[in-house]
Amino acid sequence: MADPLLQVRDLTKRFGGVLACDCICLEVPAGELHAIIGPNGAGKSTLISQLAGEINPDAGRISFDGRDITRIPSHRRSALGLARSFQITSLFLDFTVLDNVALAVQAHAGHSFRFWRPARSDVKLHGPALAALARVGLESRAHVVCANLSHGEHRQLEIAMALATAPRMFLLDEPMAGLGPDESARMIALLRELKREQTILLIEHDMDAVFRLADRITVLVDGRVIASGKPDAIRSDEAVRQAYLGTKKAGQHRSPRFDAIES
């Protein structure tokens, strides 16, 4: 079997006395949607920040497509085909929707030491940007200033920007965060369509979404991997149930999230 597209070995990150990531190992083969779940503070965001290159790990190794990327800066990881979306919407609010996506296209269309021709009427940037917007269903909003979009549309735009860089793998940090039921359903449909042709690492709190979408699930608790496997196996894993239920006996203080695991 071929090497996995993304391989993480013994990744460790410490913030002062807190061990945010403790020897995390992970493998994502091409074409898989791999979800990472875990309670708040489990180290999910720290993990994705290290994968994207915003935080340097203290130890361990990350390789992408057989290449060691542990120490290279985030813009070079993006150039290699790792596209990251942000948990807290992180867009260019004073730009239009189209300009946001066109910027992502431009980042992967050669260097930008081009000083003279107007970028905003450049079809080479707008064409692919509009195509990405069409895929997430935002093309009718292309000329709206980004700050005037709804939260749900911001989340869609996040995906469109990741798409526009024509990545080989998505790192999606809670794309469903803060969405209402309808918007969530639309986002799930979008991700389901994406996963047909893309490799995706998904961090998500919405258990319903995770169990419907993921090929494999890894559960993080206190910076450690406590389980990793197919959704069915995770659903019946004793350690996972413990983690989500705490020390309380089953039936008491169940988190509504856990209901999704059981249902």
Partner: protein, 315 residues
Amino acid sequence: MKAFFTVRNIVIGALLGFLALLPLYVVVTGQFFPLTLFTRIVILALAATSLNLILGYGGMVSFGHAAYLGLGGYVVGILAKEGMTSGFVQWPLAIAASALFGVTVGALCLRTRGVYFIMITLAFAQMIYYVAVGLDRYGGDDGLTIYRRSEFAGLVDLSGNVQFYYLCLALLIAAIWLVSRLVNSRFGIVIRGSRSNDRRMQAIGFPTFRYRLACFVMAGMMCGLAGALLANHTDFISPAVMHWTRSGDLIVMIVLGGMGSLFGPLIGAVTLLTLEEGLSRVTEYWQIIVGPLLLFIVVYARGGIDGALAGLHRG
């Protein structure tokens, strides 16, 4: 389609028309003072335009931009004293010295953000200020008189005040045009994007540092040219040109006129310097009036005067 005859466009058009026709008034009346004042205004507007490129569009709040005014001026002054008066040598060297200074300062301070960035640019400007104070051969604290203006082999005669004024005005218009092309190019979009959200820029694949550094250096070069003009205008260069309050004046011009607006720095320079000139005749405490005015603009018109004029049409 956007209307062409907006209040804003009319005001800017009138301002440019006024600047273009000013020498006519001077020649007819024989009063030379307005020409001297407006030559100075045009040169400082050029400096403010260059600062606006990094501050307004790039979000890089440099508090040491006047250093380039001094740098450009000293290159002209020192070369003139040493007997090299050709503008073809002086001006490119003034620009090159500014570029060198810009690369050095930028490479260090662009690794920082916010208050740190402001403080480091200020520190470098203070450093070069004290270097100038220490240049005993070139007048030290007292400054250096320039006895001959830059010579351009008969192409233009800078000792003719009207010719010099038009040269400054032409360079200012060229600079504004250059900035307008620049900020809308791919390069400019990267600069503006990294003002808006630098972390995201890197996440989508831009090595933003090198673009911001290039922009920082370009702004410095443009201001170095303004420095060469200023030295020729006053026939004098001294460390006072790069005092930190001069850098502050440039920022005030931009805030007053409109940050990140093409004509904002020009509007700001004209407003601030004519107010200064007019009010200082009435009272030596003219800043008591300019201060609250600036406060008013900052609180009620975030886009400065230019932004307020543009806002008239949005109702």
